[in-house]
Symmetry: C2
Subunit: 147 residues, 2 copies
């Protein structure tokens, strides 16, 4: 779809680009945090999602990857004593859970994500409230998918 065919202001276009650049910055910071804790970024995302026993299928959905990937990542985390598995009631299902070590690691990662967030260090309370309000708008559930 070429330029100028929709009611898209140059100003809005610029804001979208700025938002994308901001998220790229966050991504790099997150990769550095994961690395600091001896994890790859996907492993760190995995650990952050595991706040309760979770079926591998659900993890794949949350992480937006194929289920076959979950097997490998879980195996590497299990090797390091961070994750344990139990059978579900439906015996096809494997429920993954963090060990004590894994929970401690998750806390540490969460804390560092907060500590290194510019939201903590560069905004005052008023600005943080404004940011939350905008994030609420940005990520509210879809109303009209493709209008």
């Amino acid at each position: 779809m070429p330029f100028g065919s929709r009611p898209t202001s140059a100003e809005a276009y610029t804001v979208a680009q700025r938002l994308h650049e901001a998220s790229e910055g966050s991504r790099l910071t997150f990769e550095a945090i994961a690395s600091d804790h001896g994890l790859t970024a996907p492993q760190a995302r995995f650990v952050l999602r595991l706040f309760e026993p979770t079926a591998m299928k659900d993890l794949a959905d949350h992480l937006a990857c194929d289920k076959s990937n979950v097997t490998g990542i879980a195996a590497r985390l299990a090797e390091r004593g961070l994750v344990e598995a139990a059978r579900g009631l439906d015996r096809r299902v494997k429920l993954l859970e963090l060990t004590k070590t894994g929970r401690d690691l998750r806390e540490a990662v969460q804390q560092e994500v907060a500590d290194r967030s510019p939201a903590m260090t560069r905004l005052n309370e008023t600005e943080r409230r404004a940011l939350v309000r905008l994030l609420d708008k940005l990520h509210a559930p879809d109303l009209s998918p493709e209008s």
Copy 2:
């Protein structure tokens, strides 16, 4: 660094988490956009950076990866006719540049990043101005690195 040892309000902590989640959402959208255009995410980042002839070293710095990675990504993009190389004045340097096809693809990716941004579809102009102001604060150049 354990909980409670710094003047960190629970409220600020929550905002940091929200911001992180927002950037995870942006990352997934960007990966989908790249895929729509037959690119991996690193390839798409590469193409977006190539708005002028750029030394491979500079690309590695911008993309925060080792220079050895740039060789491979550039080779795959060149195979597809998206990128061309020329020698710099300093004959150690290779300057990468997008072809016409590559420039068209970059435009298309940029446009889709904008089109699919919630900043375009969910915010009005006042809100977008407020967002830009907050992003300016969040990502202003560092003043005190580690205070």
